[in-house]
C-alpha cells in the first residue's frame, strides 16, 4: 500500500512533500518573539527525517514536532543558533542540514557553479573575440583555383 501511494505521488507529481496541515502548532510558540524568530530560522534549515524533502518548520510529522520543541528548548537554555544546529547534527548526522556544509568534498558542490561559470564565460569570451575579426577569405582549393584560372583565362 505504501508503495502504491508513493508511486502515485511520484507519478504525477512534479510535486512535493506529501504531508499537510499545520506545521508549527500554536502551543509550541515561544512567548519571546526574538527567540521564536530564531527558532523559525533554525527550523527552516533542518530537515524532517521521516519526510520527503521537507524542513521541520513545514512538516506535520511527530518527529518534526519533537525537533522543533528541542530547538526551542536549547534556545531557551541560552544556546546560540550555531550551537543549537551543532547539537541537532550531533544527534542525527549531517543529513538533517538542508543547507549543506562546505566541509570535505562539499566544497565541490558549492564551487561547481562558479567554476562552471568561469569556464563557460572564458570559452564564451574567446569565442566572441574570435568572431570579432574580419574574416579572411578562405584560401581557394586547388580545384577552385583551376576553375578560376579557367574563367579568367577564358575571358582574356
Amino acid at each position: 500500500m505504501m508503495r502504491f501511494v508513493r508511486r502515485c505521488v511520484l507519478t504525477l507529481c512534479l510535486c512535493l512533500p506529501a504531508t499537510f496541515a499545520v506545521a508549527v502548532e500554536p502551543d509550541e510558540i515561544l512567548s519571546d518573539p526574538v527567540l521564536e524568530n530564531r527558532a523559525r530560522d533554525i527550523s527552516q534549515g533542518l530537515r524532517c527525517l521521516v519526510c520527503r524533502n521537507e524542513s521541520i518548520d513545514e512538516s506535520h510529522a511527530e518527529l518534526a514536532r519533537d525537533l522543533r520543541l528541542l530547538v526551542r528548548e536549547r534556545l531557551v537554555a541560552g544556546d546560540s543558533n550555531d550551537e543549537v544546529v551543532a547539537f541537532v547534527v550531533d544527534r542525527y548526522g549531517e543529513y538533517v542540514l538542508l543547507n549543506p556544509t562546505t566541509t570535505g568534498v562539499n566544497w565541490l558542490l558549492w564551487a561547481a557553479g562558479p567554476i562552471m561559470f568561469l569556464i563557460a564565460a572564458g570559452v564564451g569570451i574567446v569565442y566572441v573575440r574570435g568572431r570579432d575579426k574580419p574574416t579572411q577569405a578562405a584560401a581557394l582549393s586547388a580545384q577552385e583555383q583551376a576553375r578560376l584560372d579557367e574563367i579568367l583565362n577564358g575571358e582574356t
Partner: protein, 660 residues
C-alpha cells in the same frame, strides 16, 4: 474487450513505429523517395493507434472497469468524473502511455507540416522521432503494461491518492509532458541535422517553433504545479527545490537557452554546433527528469530498489539516446561551420551571455539535485541539499541574467555600442531605482530582498517597454504598434513576464506575514490590518470524503471583506487527510487561512498568512507563456519557411558539403 482492443492497438503502434524508424532512414540514405515517403503515413497511423489505446484506457477509468488492474489500483466508483478521467495519467503506467502518446502526436503534427523541409531531413526527423517512440513502446509493453487484467475483479477500487484529486493536478502532468516531449522534436531535428551534416538558417527556423511550443507548455505545466502547491499544501509555499521539481526546471532553463540561440542560428548562422548540443541536452534533461520521477532514485534510494527494472530501462533509454546523440555530435560537429561575423558588443554576444547564464543555472540545479546520491555512493556521506543551497547558488546567475536582459534585448545585431543602448534605457533604469527606493523607504528596516527584487523586476519590465518603443521609433506613431511583428510583441511580453515573476517571488518572500494561534469561536483576532472572526466550525460530507469546514469572517476598518471557508478533509478509502486552505485572492495580496486541529482547551489552531503579490508569480508565468504563443503565431512561422537553398546555388560552403 475494449481493453484488449486498446492493448492490440498499442502493439500495432509499436510495429508501425519500428517501420517508421527503419524504412525512412534507409530511404534518406539511399535517396529512395518511396521509402522516405513511408514516414508520413506511418507517423499519422502510429498516432491514431496510440490515441485509440489511450482512449480505451480512459474509457476503462471512466466506466470504472475494475477488471483492469490499473483501474483497481487508482480509481474508485465514488470519485468525481473529472478525477476518474485524470486518473488515467495519475499513475505510472498511464502517465507513460500519455508520454508516448505525445511523442506520436508531435510526430504526426510534424508529418503534416514541414512541407518546406527537404525530404531527406524530414524523413530523418520522423525516423528519429519514431526511434524515441519505439524505446518507450518497449518500456510500456514489457515493463509497465497498463492493460493488465485481474483474475478476480474486486467490487471497488482503491482510489486515487487524494492529493492528486485536484483540478490543478489534473492538468499539470499533460502540460508538463507536452513540454518535456515537445523537446523531443528539437532533439530529432538536431540528430537529423547531424546525420545530414548541415545546419543553416532554415533549420533554425524549423526548430524554433517546436522549442517555443515545448517551452510554453513547460512554463504552463510548471506554473500549474507551483500554483497547486501554493493552495493545496497548506502553508503557501510555491517552490521547494524538490528533485522532481528540479527535474522540470532543468529542461525549462535549457529550452529557454535553446530558443534564444536558435534565433542566432536563424538570423546570423552562427552558434550552430552549440545549438545542436543544446537541443540534445534539453531533451536529455527531459529524459533525466522522467528517470528521476519514475525511478524515485533521488527521493529515496529504497524507492528505486523497489522497482529497479523500470528505473534501469529508463536509464538505458537515457544513455542510449543522449549518449548516442552526443557521440554523433562529437563526430559531426566540426562540419557545422559558422558563417557570421559579429562584434564583441552585439546582440549575438548578449545571446551568448544569456545561454551561458541559463546553462550554468541548469548545471547548478543538476549538481545540487544529484549531489546527495553522489556523496552517498562515492564518499559515504549521507547529506541533504535543500532550498538554502539552491537559493544561494542558483539565484546569482538569474540576477545577472535579469540585469543583462534589457540591455541585451535592445543591443543591435552584429555590432553595437553599450553606451548607446544604456542611454536608451535611462528612463527604465531611473524608474526602477525610484520604485525600489520608494519600497525601501516604506518598508523601514526589513531585509533588502524586497527592494532589490523590485529593482530587478521593474528594470526588466520597463526594459521590455523600451524595447517595444525602440521598435516603433516614436510614440507619436502609435499605429505602428499594430504593425509590429508578433514575434517582437512576444519577446517583450515574455521578458516582462519574467520580470513580473522575479519581482513577485522576491516581494512574497520579503513581505509576507504569518500568524499562528488558537482561535476561539466568536473571539476576533487581528493579522496585519485585518480582523478575523471564527464564526463556526461544522462537519460536512463530500462526494468521496468528509470535511471539517470553518467559517471565518474577515473585516478591515469595520468593513466585511469576505467570509473564508478553510477545510480539513478525510478521504476514507485512502485513509488520508488533506487541508484545503481558504484564500481571498486580491490583486496586490492574498489572504490565506488554514484550519488546524481542534485544541484540547477549546478553540482551533488557525494559521493566517498575508501573501503580497502572490498571484503575480503565476501572472508572470502566464505572461511568459502568452509571449511565447504570440511569437509562435508570428507570420514567419505560419507561412511556410522558404525551402533550403540547394547546394547548386552555392549557399552551403564546400566544408559542409564534403561532410555529407
Amino acid at each position: 474487450m475494449i481493453t484488449e482492443f486498446g492493448h492490440f492497438a498499442l502493439i500495432l503502434a509499436f510495429m508501425v513505429a519500428v517501420v517508421q524508424m527503419v524504412v525512412p532512414m534507409i530511404g534518406a540514405y539511399k535517396r529512395w523517395d518511396g521509402w522516405m515517403a513511408v514516414a508520413e503515413p506511418a507517423a499519422q497511423g502510429q498516432f491514431l493507434f496510440t490515441f485509440f489505446a489511450f482512449g480505451t484506457l480512459m474509457w476503462a477509468f471512466a466506466t470504472s472497469d475494475f477488471s483492469v488492474e490499473l483501474v483497481v489500483l487508482n480509481s474508485h466508483s465514488a470519485k468525481p468524473m473529472l478525477y476518474k478521467l485524470a486518473g488515467t495519467w495519475g499513475n505510472h503506467e498511464g502517465s507513460m502511455l500519455l508520454w508516448v502518446l505525445i511523442v506520436t502526436l508531435f510526430g504526426a503534427v510534424a508529418s503534416f507540416g514541414g512541407n518546406g523541409l527537404p525530404p531527406t531531413l524530414k524523413a530523418r526527423v520522423l525516423s528519429v522521432q519514431a526511434a524515441i517512440a519505439v524505446a518507450f513502446f518497449i518500456f510500456i509493453l514489457f515493463t509497465s503494461n497498463p492493460f493488465v487484467r485481474v483474475a478476480v475483479p474486486p467490487f471497488d477500487g482503491q482510489d486515487l491518492n487524494p492529493l492528486l484529486q485536484d483540478p490543478g493536478l489534473a492538468f499539470h502532468p499533460p502540460f508538463l509532458y507536452l513540454g518535456y516531449v515537445g523537446l523531443s522534436m528539437a532533439f530529432s531535428f538536431a540528430v537529423a541535422a547531424l546525420i545530414e551534416g548541415r545546419v543553416d538558417a532554415a533549420w533554425g527556423r524549423w526548430v524554433r517553433p517546436w522549442t517555443l511550443a515545448a517551452w510554453v507548455f513547460l512554463t504552463i505545466g510548471i506554473g500549474l504545479g507551483s500554483w497547486w502547491a501554493y493552495y493545496e499544501l497548506g502553508w503557501g509555499g510555491f517552490w521547494f527545490w524538490d528533485p522532481v521539481e528540479n527535474a522540470s526546471l532543468m529542461p525549462w532553463l535549457l529550452a529557454a537557452a535553446l530558443l534564444h540561440c536558435a534565433i542566432v542560428v536563424e538570423k546570423r548562422e552562427v552558434l550552430k554546433s552549440w545549438t545542436v548540443l543544446l537541443a540534445i541536452l534539453a531533451f536529455g534533461f527531459s529524459l533525466i527528469g522522467t528517470f528521476i520521477v519514475r525511478s524515485g532514485l533521488l527521493t529515496s534510494v529504497h524507492a528505486f530498489a523497489n522497482d529497479p527494472e523500470r528505473g534501469i530501462v529508463i536509464l538505458v533509454i537515457l544513455s542510449l539516446f543522449t549518449g548516442g546523440a552526443l557521440m554523433l555530435f562529437a563526430l559531426r560537429a566540426q562540419a557545422l561551420e559558422a558563417k557570421g561575423v559579429f562584434g564583441a558588443v552585439s546582440r549575438e554576444s548578449a545571446l551568448v551571455a544569456n545561454n551561458i547564464l541559463l546553462a550554468v543555472g541548469c548545471f547548478v540545479v543538476f549538481v545540487g539535485t544529484v549531489w546527495p546520491v553522489v556523496a552517498e555512493m562515492l564518499f559515504t556521506r549521507k547529506l541533504s541539499v535543500g532550498p538554502p543551497f539552491f537559493e544561494a547558488a542558483f539565484t546569482p546567475f538569474m540576477v545577472l541574467l535579469g540585469l543583462l536582459l534589457p540591455i541585451g534585448s535592445i543591443i543591435p545585431w552584429k555590432r553595437g555600442k553599450v553606451r548607446r543602448s544604456l542611454w536608451s534605457l535611462r528612463y527604465a533604469a531611473a524608474l526602477a531605482v525610484a520604485l525600489a527606493g520608494l519600497a525601501w523607504a516604506m518598508q523601514s528596516g526589513q531585509s533588502l530582498l524586497g527592494p532589490v527584487g523590485l529593482l530587478l523586476g521593474a528594470w526588466i519590465v520597463f526594459g521590455a517597454i523600451v524595447d517595444v518603443s525602440l521598435r516603433i521609433g516614436s510614440w507619436t506613431r502609435l499605429s505602428r504598434l499594430w504593425r509590429l511583428p508578433r514575434a517582437d510583441w512576444g519577446k517583450a511580453v515574455a521578458h516582462a513576464g519574467f520580470g513580473v515573476t522575479v519581482f513577485a517571488i522576491a516581494g512574497l518572500l520579503a513581505w509576507q506575514k504569518e500568524d499562528i494561534r488558537v482561535a476561539r469561536l466568536n473571539e476576533p483576532f487581528q493579522v496585519g490590518p485585518y480582523h478575523l472572526l471564527l464564526e463556526h466550525v461544522s462537519q460536512e460530507p463530500g462526494p468521496n470524503y468528509s470535511s471539517t469546514v470553518a467559517q471565518i469572517a474577515v473585516t478591515r476598518d469595520g468593513q466585511l471583506i469576505t467570509k473564508l471557508h478553510p477545510e480539513k478533509r478525510i478521504y476514507p478509502v485512502a485513509q488520508m487527510p488533506t487541508t484545503e486552505a481558504a484564500i481571498d485572492f486580491r490583486f496586490t495580496r492574498d489572504l490565506y487561512v488554514v484550519l488546524g486541529d481542534a485544541q484540547d482547551g477549546g478553540g482551533w489552531a488557525i494559521r493566517t498568512y498575508i501573501k503580497p503579490f502572490a498571484n503575480w508569480i503565476w501572472g508572470g508565468c502566464l505572461l511568459m507563456a502568452f509571449g511565447g504563443l504570440l511569437s509562435l503565431s508570428d507570420r514567419r512561422f505560419r507561412v511556410a519557411a522558404p525551402g533550403r537553398k540547394t547546394g547548386k546555388t552555392g549557399a552551403p560552403p564546400p566544408v559542409e558539403r564534403s561532410a555529407v
